[in-house]
């Protein structure tokens, strides 16, 4: 078990989770929060989906990082560009520039040799950490189905490739990845069945198959508790037809289902009913998540924010919620 270390004091965070849980929003918010704390932060989108650009309402991000907010730089991973950068830095290969079919050759080798693309991704991230260009690097990493392959790539390469430049590089990468206070994985989940199951499976696989530490689990879209037990009893009373009629008469606004009768307030009561049931189902999944995680795992809760959009404002709201959870 790692010593308790402040999440943002780490140097490299991989943010992952099942598709659709808000992984990118959380990664963007963590980056934003770190930057607002005065940490020079790099946010890297590993899958080119363009959602990071959306989170900050900027032009599409590229391999070359760009400052998207004060103290926050964003980039998109491009393994080919990463290889070129690496070769330019490590190999003094002027010939390379003239190697026309490099792209195709690379693509082929990367496809043929599993782990090469992954290691170029992880390698670029680790490189930024090693060179101390940033205080914190946040990777919007692949979804839970692919993250283990990515993080285990340096070891896989270590096993498969006995000599050569790629092999030479795996040692220091493994050092950075395996150092608990430096690197960590943040798993994002929503309190729903599948995301919770995937999160629990992932934490087991991370420990068994990689050297990387589980830094925290972020539970996204937690619904507020609508009623206390006493209040829920009153709510049930209000659902009795005669009482619903009395409420409708008090409101006195003609509702959507015609007339000022009980039909006018029923959609509202139905809506509250849905919220209560959703909250209850989610609470069960949340319980299963808490129970299934390794003891001592840091859990951060982000409420359902009922946002209008997924832009800058939403990113800031999530960052604030995370900040509150981290005690800032």
């Amino acid at each position: 078990m790692a010593s308790p270390v402040d999440l943002l004091d780490r140097r490299l965070l991989f943010v992952t989770g099942k598709g659709g849980v808000g992984k990118t929003s959380i990664a963007a918010a963590l980056g934003s929060l770190a930057a607002s704390q005065g940490r020079r932060t790099l946010l890297c989108e590993v899958d080119t989906k363009g959602d990071i650009a959306g989170a900050f309402e900027t032009a599409p991000t590229e391999f070359r990082e760009r400052e998207v907010a004060h103290g926050l730089w964003a980039m998109t991973m491009d393994t080919e560009a990463s290889l070129k950068e690496y070769l330019g830095l490590q190999l003094k290969l002027p010939l390379l520039a003239r190697l026309g079919p490099l792209a195709r050759t690379f693509d082929f080798v990367a496809n043929a040799a599993p782990g090469v693309k992954e290691i170029l991704t992880v390698g670029k991230l680790c490189y930024e950490v090693r060179e101390r260009h940033y205080d914190l690097v946040v990777a919007d990493a692949p979804a839970s189905g692919h993250i283990v392959g990515q993080l285990a790539a340096p070891e896989a390469i270590n096993d498969l490739v006995k000599v050569g430049l790629v092999r030479d590089q795996t040692g220091w990468m493994l050092d950075i990845l395996g150092e608990a206070p430096t690197t960590g994985v943040v798993v994002v989940a929503t309190p729903e069945e599948m995301p919770v199951n995937e999160t629990l499976e992932l934490t087991v696989r991370l420990q068994a198959e990689t050297v990387v530490d589980l830094a925290a689990v972020v539970v996204n879209r937690v619904l507020p508790e609508l009623f206390t037990r006493g209040e829920e009893k009153i709510f049930r009373e209000l659902r009795r037809p005669d009482r619903t009629d009395a409420l409708a008469a008090a409101v006195g606004v003609p509702g959507p289902r015609g007339g000022p009768g009980r039909a006018s307030v029923e959609p509202l009561l139905d809506g509250a009913e849905l919220a209560v049931k959703l909250r209850r189902t989610r609470a069960e999944h949340l319980g299963a998540l808490r129970e299934g995680l390794p003891p001592g795992t840091q859990l951060l809760y982000v409420p359902e924010l009922f946002q209008r959009s997924h832009g800058v404002r939403a990113t800031r709201q999530i960052a604030e919620a995370l900040g509150a959870e981290l005690g800032y």
Partner: protein, 384 residues
Amino acid sequence: MEPLLAAKEIVICCGSGGVGKTTTAAALAAMAAANLGGKVLVITVDPARRLANALGLERFGNVETQIRPEHFAAAGVAEPRGELWAAMLDTKQSWDELVRAHAPDAATRDAILANPLYANITSRFVQSHDYIAMERLYEIHASGRYDLILVDTPPTRNAIDFLEAPERMADFFSSRLLRWLTVPARSRVFTMASKPFYTVADRILGTQFLQDIAEFFLLFQTMYDGFVERARAVTRTLSDKRTTFVVVSTLEPSPVRETEFFVDALSDRKLHLGAVVLNKVLPDWFRDHDATAVAQRMSTDPAGLAKAVTEAAGNAGIGAPDQVARVLAEVGESFLNFQVVATREGEQRAELAAVADVVATIPYADHDITDLAGLLELGSWLWR
């Protein structure tokens, strides 16, 4: 959706992660088995244990298992018109079977299966998952054992990856570069053309690793003809008239973007888009203008309303006015909160309507699906 499923033999459910592809595929399969008849198979990539339980199975694997008719009876379908079968895709096992089927002899087969690169490629190589899913679909369809096969697609990084997987596999194994790579193991003679490639590749990966790769591909090349032909046949199956695609999406911005992209990709490839299914959609009445007025009244004047309600005839036992006021305020605010999301969903829906007709909408479920009855209930939204 009923006429679509009645007319097709293969239904491929695709869409971005977390939108409910697996559940949708299973619900459609259950409805087809109950109402259309024939043998219906659902192949899933990664089912939640509870979905297996919902189908009345402890677990299911690469081998197809029938869902016992009792489960339909328990779900209120006394006599399903057809049979429902389920299978889960086991990538490693499927690859092994493929190798067994195509290897020219036992020695090559064993050498491939024991090769460390093979294990790595089949388990880690993401494209190999996409390919094997389509390959297995082809295999089962070609066997003629089922009238209708529904499959949910693996969680790919890019929704269209699996469409291109067979083609890419064929390209891969017929690549000139692959031939270059396998030259040294064959003759140890470097051609002029391959030299620059080796210079770079050697320095990056080392000769030994290249040799390992070469050996693996030499072994694999013995299966080349069978493999490439197979990959082409798989591609043909995808574009066959009997195959259709169902794109599943929620009304979150990111899945909607992927759905638009996917609809375009299908049309570019002349593949049949059968339906767009929207899942987890909030009810329309959340956007009702009149309901807004009611909600606003509840959240701005809960005390006044509570007073009126508690003082109404026969309402004395309802509770203390201040508590009633809190309840009303919560009801109003909660409604307005959900309305924000419902409005956003409405906008996404309008955007989506510009590229494709939405065929079916599944409302936001307030409970999990735990049995066949639940699957059929969800399926009934798709059937209408």
